[in-house]
């Protein structure tokens, strides 16, 4: 295997899983400098607001992303389990889903719920990255669409690091505000089991295995690009693009 993850032979299922974990260890956004600043306690409240406001766009699109995938699954039993993802993020009208929980994080940071929900102050790069994710699951093969969800293999690690660091280093954020993350620690591994089993079963040639690896890289690029844009706009001074969120001077 070359540095950019070109396969040179067909892998066993467990070798493929090893390559996917290698992609994660090199490309997942836990290595991004913006995440590093966050866990080191070095972001201002305004920068945390910018992160929550932009990431909301991603959260809000997840059920639509999963509905696109659902619309492409012919196997009813797989549809049944995939449907759970939509419930997790949209809720059931009574208990809140992931989108509402993320909104609690945003408002807990002092943002106005209507502004966050409108998405109109989000960075264009955030919207383009989210759009790239929707287009990817719509236009690529179902195998690639499912494989692109496998960043969840690594999310418990990033969540664990993020939540512990935020509670320790950002005194104005409490556990209740971070309620988004707790259910994700059990939902993500369950989702990974389903997606990984599908991939192990359906990617048995070098060509399909390469598609799977490239789908995971593409998804890592989406998450990374969102943090690039946050870093450029809100860590380096003076680079907020026209029309996007500007933190108050005090924060």
């Amino acid at each position: 295997m070359t540095p950019d993850f070109r396969l040179d032979r067909t892998l066993s299922a467990s070798e493929l899983e090893d390559v996917l974990r290698q992609v994660g260890s090199e490309r997942y956004h836990i290595r991004h400098p913006f995440h590093r600043l966050m866990v080191e306690g070095r972001l201002t409240r305004g920068q945390m607001q910018a992160w929550a406001l932009n990431r909301y766009c991603y959260q809000a699109a997840i059920p639509r992303k999963d509905a696109i995938i659902l619309s492409r699954i012919e196997d009813r039993s797989l549809r049944l389990v995939w449907r759970e993802r939509i419930l997790d993020h949209d809720g059931d009208g009574a208990s809140p889903g992931g989108i509402e929980r993320w909104m609690r994080l945003a408002t807990g940071l002092g943002l106005d719920a209507a502004i966050v929900a409108s998405q109109r102050l989000a960075l264009p790069a955030t919207r383009f990255s989210v759009g790239a994710y929707l287009t990817f699951v719509e236009k690529r093969t179902l195998l690639e669409a499912i494989a692109s969800s496998l960043t969840e293999m690594f999310s418990p690690q990033v969540i664990g690091e993020r939540v512990a660091a935020i509670l320790q280093r950002y005194p104005y954020i409490d556990e209740d505000t971070l309620g988004y993350f707790t259910p994700r620690l059990t939902q993500a591994p369950r989702d990974v089991d389903v997606a990984l089993a599908h991939v192990r079963e359906h990617a048995r040639s070098i060509e399909t295995q390469q598609l799977v690896v490239d789908a995971l890289i593409a998804k890592c690029e989406i998450l990374w690009t969102m943090l690039d844009a946050l870093h450029f706009s809100y860590v380096e001074p003076g680079h907020v693009p026209p029309g996007a969120f500007v933190p108050e001077a005090a924060s």
Copy 2:
């Protein structure tokens, strides 16, 4: 009209055109710091290479963008004139089109043609921005798709500034290498005439006029976001995302 270009009444055709020019003067990428660095002669050869390599992805997608629009036009006479855009960029197999001319700029800067054409070293943010443009013209109304081309109202200005400055300040780039830009100075105004006439005729209510204004803003955001990504990755040190083009240390 508010600062974010919300219309409060139906405009005359010439008032609408004035608003579009106002959008351009505030949002077009001629105001982007990366463009400013370029015309001030402050970019290295490696940074110029990064610009040419990434912008190639945009150029290469333009005929596909126009083919999507062409596929949505019911009026044969409009299809006839819109088709010219595809010829301009794809050429006719004998005389080169815009894509080949842009490649000449890239190779004139010392890049390998096969690597540029593969697009695999482009920034993910470039690819997501270009993808956002294709999705926009596919999924929005035809009026919005046509209006999004109106950044060409402002391109002769940016080209004039860019070409003069490059010839003056970058001695390793000659007029032949910049051959992309010369035909654009006559093609763009012709294209603008067509698109602007369509918009003036078909946007006569406040709602459709707002769609037109927002389409132009969206397109400005696409161009701006591509320069944001270049600026972050290649002007500030150390921010090239994994897998993307890295200029040689010497350049």
